[in-house]
């Protein structure tokens, strides 16, 4: 290319760039950028996408009313993490560079921590869509917030229920491959033992493992047969495990937590009869959650798949309240406002961050599959004294 043209082109670039910059800075005067580093593909996508849909709906509604805190139009920039921890850090950096003042991270601890390591030094408040490992917030620092009921809280709720049912002996099935699958059953074990139950066996699996037969044979050959099996395995491992367990003639009930409250597991029909799981709430007739479900169906064209949608929606409400309290779009002020929330009226119940290590105190709904439907058992906030330390 002749030098003259190169100069021309450089001048043209400079002009266009300058104009864009001017436009952006003008627009962002009343805008607040929310960066969403979430999985659109890969293993976390079935969890991140429903939650993100809920958040989007909340932001659309809030924007129609003048934006977050009635002041700042929320601009959501979404980037795909491909369910990969390293990729999550990459896109989180891109979002920070794009000016994100609030960061939303995937439904799992490991990628959330990788994004949090970038936002922590900058003081950008970071909320995981439905990551529930209680170690998550301490691993990052004061900018990191959980939003879903924490694993130890969920496990306590399930353990309380199992004890109340008269269950005495449990077998714990864990996988060291993720914080969720490794720790949740162990929290259950701790509460269960404290309340008079016994752990009669432990087994592990690798996520994506094709075959559970050896593990199942070990369960069958236990001298002390368990009353229930507790696991945090989720799809596609959970369907595989229960298919092979029942196929081997074992009828012991299986209990899990929030990650099996999905259409996939529900779609297994009779196979999952009696399986107990948790949710962020239950839509009783006349409840706010029921109204949300109707509104969401109108917004998205399909009914919510789980309670991840409403959880995402509540993140929007929390952000709105935090910006209102902060009275500015300063990330540090927003962070402080979220950390100070007390008895905030969400859709599923009261949400409190004040006094916690940024994993919220909020109700847990216990559910059970029966005849291909999720039936509500009860909703509770476990006693803080019962909840094991992370």
């Amino acid at each position: 290319m002749p030098k003259l043209y190169r100069l021309h082109r450089a001048a043209l670039y400079a002009a266009v760039f300058g104009m864009t910059l001017a436009l952006v800075s003008k627009a962002s005067a009343e805008e607040i950028i929310i960066g969403a580093a979430t999985a659109q593909t890969g293993g976390l996508a079935p969890y991140d996408q429903p939650a993100l849909a809920g958040l989007r709906m909340a932001l659309d509604e809030l924007n129609a009313k003048g934006g977050l805190g009635g002041q700042y139009i929320a601009k959501l920039i979404i980037k795909d993490t491909r369910s990969d921890t390293a990729q999550t850090a990459t896109v989180a950096q891109e979002l920070i560079d794009a000016g994100a003042k609030i960061m939303i991270t995937p439904c799992d601890a490991d990628p959330s921590i990788s994004a949090g390591q970038l936002t922590q030094p900058l003081g950008i408040p970071t909320l995981t869509l439905c990551g529930s490992a209680p170690v998550l917030t301490a691993a990052v620092g004061d900018v990191m917030f959980g939003t879903y009921p924490a694993d130890n809280v969920q496990a306590t709720a399930v353990a309380n229920f199992a004890i109340a049912e008269g269950k005495k002996k449990v077998y714990l099935l864990t996988s060291p491959d993720s914080t969720y699958t490794a720790n949740l059953p162990e929290y259950f074990g701790k509460v269960f033992e404290k309340k008079g139950g016994a752990v009669v066996g432990r087994g592990t699996f690798t996520m994506g493992q094709p075959d559970f037969s050896a593990e199942i044979t070990n369960i069958k050959s236990l001298a002390d047969q368990p009353d229930l099996i507790m696991t945090a395995a989720y799809e596609p491992d959970f369907p595989a495990f229960i298919q092979q367990l029942r196929g081997a003639g074992v009828t012991v009930p299986v209990y899990g937590a929030d990650a099996i409250g999905t259409p996939t597991v529900k779609g297994l029909g009779k196979l999952v009869d009696g399986v107990v799981y948790t949710a962020a709430g239950y839509a009783e007739p006349g409840s706010k959650l029921e109204a949300f479900n109707t509104a969401f169906a109108k917004y998205a064209g399909h009914a919510p798949e789980s309670t991840y949608e409403v959880n995402g929606y509540e993140i929007g409400l929390i952000l709105d309240q935090a910006v209102k309290t902060a009275g500015s779009d300063d990330p540090k002020a927003i962070r402080d406002a979220i950390a100070g929330l007390k008895d905030f009226d969400g859709i599923t119940g009261k949400i409190t961050y004040a006094g916690t290590d940024r994993m919220p105190l909020r109700p847990v709904a216990l559910m059970r599959y029966e005849g291909g439907e999720g039936k509500h058992i009860q909703t509770m906030i476990p006693d803080a004294a019962d909840v094991p330390a992370p």
């Binding site: 659109q40 593909t41 890969g42 293993g43 996508a45 079935p46 996408q49 060291p176 432990r202 087994g203 592990t204 690798t206 994506g208 493992q209 094709p210 075959d211 037969s213 050896a214 593990e215 044979t217 070990n218 069958k220 050959s221 799809e235 596609p236 369907p239 595989a240 229960i242 298919q243 092979q244 029942r246 196929g247 081997a248 003639g249 999905t262 259409p263 996939t264 597991v265 529900k266 779609g267 297994l268 029909g269 009779k270 196979l271």
Partner: protein, 293 residues
């Protein structure tokens, strides 16, 4: 309990053998390790789901699904691999990776990122007892189907002209062509067989896992690759031996390792593979011609 674990091992080994055989057939003829083999399984799984949704009775749905796998394999050869014929092993390998990634994205965006439940008929989760131990219907079917498929393949390769030509092609393709056998027919048949095996393996896989997801082909193709390498790349008896060996080692380790060491199971299995290859670098039962093209 030991008898039970042996059944578990044979059942898993059978599925691995079918998968490894599917890879080995294609490799023995065209020198391609088809990493999109797993996506043929995924495709068969979705075909099964679709057939069930459309109300076909279960046996018919299985038939449709397996045929879909076979046809997809032939189509894959026609579209992606035929233009690459004669290319280097590396180019073929990369092409297969490309096909695999492409199909995964198509499944994720076209169907759903979420695993789809496949409700197996009730009798599949049944079990029957012999005195002390119970055998699940699922594992029994796995063992019987794998055995039948292996016998049928053996008969096809020994007793038919195309089968004989394929065995000959695995040893020296050029001589086979000089004998007047069209190369395209041999290659298409190799893909058809590998697709059939993928379809069958997919049915056994889905029967044990009760769901189909876009990424489900990854683990099986990896296991099949390991089995094929251990057995001797390109050798059909080797693939079967490698598949069974891998299945047996995995189940035995899972059954016997103490909880503290259990997470290292895959690492131990792969160390075992390295050990086997150190002693027998060409695999357990080496192919007559190890490296083609």
């Amino acid at each position: 309990m030991i008898a039970q674990q042996i059944i578990n091992a044979v059942s898993l080994g059978g599925v691995y053998a079918l998968l490894a055989l599917g890879l080995a057939i294609v490799f023995s003829i065209v020198g391609l390790i088809n990493f999109a083999h797993g996506e043929l399984m995924t495709l068969s799984g979705y075909a099964l789901l679709a057939a069930l949704v459309f109300g076909l009775p279960f046996p018919a749905a299985v038939l449709v699904a397996v045929s879909c796998g076979a046809l997809a394999a032939v189509a894959m050869e026609r579209v992606a691999f035929r233009p690459m014929r004669g290319a280097s092993v590396t180019s073929l390998l990369l092409t297969s990776f490309a096909v695999s990634s492409l199909l995964k994205v198509v499944f994720q965006n076209g169907i759903s990122a979420r695993p789809q439940p496949v409700a197996m008929p009730g009798w599949m989760t049944g079990a029957f007892s012999f005195g002390d131990f119970t055998i699940g219907v699922g594992p029994s079917i796995s063992i019987v189907v794998s055995a039948l498929a292996l016998i049928a393949l053996e008969l096809f390769l020994r007793r038919t002209v195309t089968g004989t030509a394929m065995r000959a092609a695995a040893e020296d393709f050029n001589v086979v062509r000089l004998m007047g056998i069209p190369a395209s027919r041999i290659i298409a048949t190799a893909f058809l067989l590998s697709g059939l095996l993928a379809g069958l393996a997919a049915m056994l896989w889905v029967a044990q896992r009760a769901s189909v997801d876009p990424l489900m082909g990854f683990t099986p193709v990896l296991k099949a690759f390991i089995a094929a390498v251990v057995g001797g790349l390109g050798s059909l008896p080797g693939a079967v031996a490698g598949g069974f060996l891998l299945g047996i080692i995995e189940v035995l380790l899972q059954a016997t390792l103490p909880a503290a060491v259990a997470p290292y199971r895959d690492a131990i299995v792969l160390s075992g593979v390295i050990a086997v290859l150190l002693v027998r670098p060409q695999g357990l039962i080496p192919a007559v011609r190890v490296q083609r093209s």
